[in-house]
Amino acid sequence: MRIPCPHCGQRDVGEFRYGGDASKARPAHGTGDMKAWHDYYFLFDNPKGPHDEYWQHVLGCRQWFKLTRNTATNEIGEQP
């Protein structure tokens, strides 16, 4: 798989680190809302299809970015 780093261009998947579902909204800190944090941290939509996700160009520019990838085909679409 090749991943488009918005800064460095297309690179091999081996240069990246996957960072999980990017459609989840991180709950606010300090609210004490255990449920919100549980759902955020432990539950996944895990769709078979388009998935917004984070990647870090960890062996490159070290930037995190979002992209949409179809988990049924590994095809990468636009950056959301």
């Binding site: 081996g14 999980g20 449920k35 549980h38």
Partner: protein, 419 residues
């Protein structure tokens, strides 16, 4: 017309070859309703159906498989069985599983080639050996076999590893569980299927579940590619497709689907007599009875439902293989493939009830569901039959993270950021 398998039956058959063997399992048309349905004809689904019939007398049961039985991970794993677990809950569960493996071929009247060839886990630092010791001590304290090995003992046992100065990490020792080993993976699916079929269970292939029939909160049936089927109880055991099927019932589960690759080389005469795992990087290898080296490593590291892997992972696994076992260098890879794995945040599985009455869930097996197959079926059947957890799967509840009851056997924390 069940015909028991035995050497004698084989010999008789050889003499009168015109009387064909009966089908191992039948392929009935689905009925409109069953007392219980198990979704997923993998090892766990088939074992569950078998134990529902065998242990709980529930025989009006169907297993629904979208493809052919064994097409999922039970048919594509590296076949390692072991019970070297140290966290309360895991230890007993996996040991129960290993005990069931020991008698399984007999019980099913199907030779699953349960090979107790022993698994050696190799330590690459003194500190790692200590953590292995902790595991081994817990095993011994729970009546499970384990032996600590020093470097010399490892050298004697596995003389073909790289002990030279060229080894990037020296081997400090290891731990062996003699009763651990391998099982002929496909035979597990077929053996359970045949035994369940004999007890009246319907095994329905090419039947994909596409939705649930709900009565309010309650699941009362499934929609499938072969029509609607009603059921008193429904168990989900679809491994890598857990979230997908759970979502059909409105459930969101702590699972992400990842691909794990496996590899086999050309067959050669016996060279490696044990299952070997390495502490430098996740790597495990055994030689199949057919002669191929079967091995694997980490998941690829991102979620996907494609049953094929990325090449960089293939390379890191090959690097491990040759670095630990120089004999692997000249052996040629015959085939490599992927399986989609239901990964959980703490690396441990779920077996239990769900928020939906009559709907039960089994999944989240990560790297370790094959060895769990018998116990998983055993306890899941219990849970389905009695609508309550068996004492062995009590720790595996879907809501354990809400309570902070993670079962982090390997201390890796959330795998999303770490592997």
């Amino acid at each position: 017309m069940f015909k028991p398998y035995s050497a004698l039956a084989l010999a008789k058959h050889a003499l009168s070859p015109d009387r064909p063997w009966p089908r191992a399992w039948n392929s009935p048309e689905p009925k409109s309703s069953y007392d219980a349905i198990v979704i997923g004809g993998g090892g766990h689904g088939l074992a569950t159906a078998y134990y529902l019939a065998k242990n709980h007398g529930l025989t009006n049961v169907a297993v629904l498989e979208r493809n052919y039985i064994g097409s999922g991970n039970v048919g594509r794993n590296t076949t390692i069985i072991r019970s070297n677990y140290m966290i309360d809950g895991n230890t007993q569960f996996f040991e129960h599983s290993l005990k069931l493996w020991e008698g399984l071929s007999h019980e099913l009247n199907f030779n699953c080639m349960v090979s107790h060839r022993g698994q050696v886990v190799l330590a690459v630092s003194p500190a790692q050996l200590d953590t292995f010791a902790r595991r081994g001590n817990i095993m011994r304290l729970n009546g499970i076999d384990a032996e600590l090995l020093d470097r010399g003992q490892v050298m004697k046992l596995l003389p073909y590893l790289d002990y030279s100065k060229d080894a990037r990490w020296p081997i400090y020792g290891g731990i062996i569980q003699e009763r651990a080993g391998t099982v002929r993976h496909d035979a597990v699916a077929w053996g359970y299927a045949r035994a369940a079929d004999t007890l009246g269970v319907h095994i329905i292939e090419n039947c994909e579940v596409t939705g649930f029939v709900m009565d309010g909160d309650k699941a009362v049936g499934v929609e499938t590619s072969r029509g609607k089927i009603l059921a008193g109880k429904i168990g989900i055991a679809v491994a890598g497709h857990s979230s997908h099927v759970a979502k059909m019932a409105g459930l969101r589960v702590p699972i992400e689907t990842h691909v794990l690759q496996a590899f086999v080389t050309e067959p050669v005469k016996p060279m490696v007599d044990h299952v070997i795992s390495w502490g430098a990087e996740l790597f495990y290898l055994s030689q199949s009875d057919k002669g191929g080296m079967v091995f694997g490593g980490h998941i690829d590291g991102f979620n996907t439902y494609t049953q094929r892997g990325q090449f960089p992972r293939i390379q890191t696994v090959a690097e491990c293989a040759v670095s630990l076992l120089p004999l692997m260098s000249k052996l040629r890879l015959l085939r490599h493939w992927g399986g989609v794995m239901d990964m959980t945040p703490d690396g441990s599985p779920f077996i239990g009830r769900t928020e939906r009455p009559n709907l039960y869930f089994n999944g989240g097996w990560c790297y370790q569901g094959f060895k769990a197959t018998p116990a998983s079926g055993w306890t899941f059947a219990h849970t389905i039959a009695h609508d309550e957890e068996h004492e062995l799967n009590r720790a595996y509840s879907l809501d354990r993270f809400e309570k902070g009851r993670e079962l982090d056997e390997f201390g890796i924390g959330n795998w999303t950021y770490k592997q």
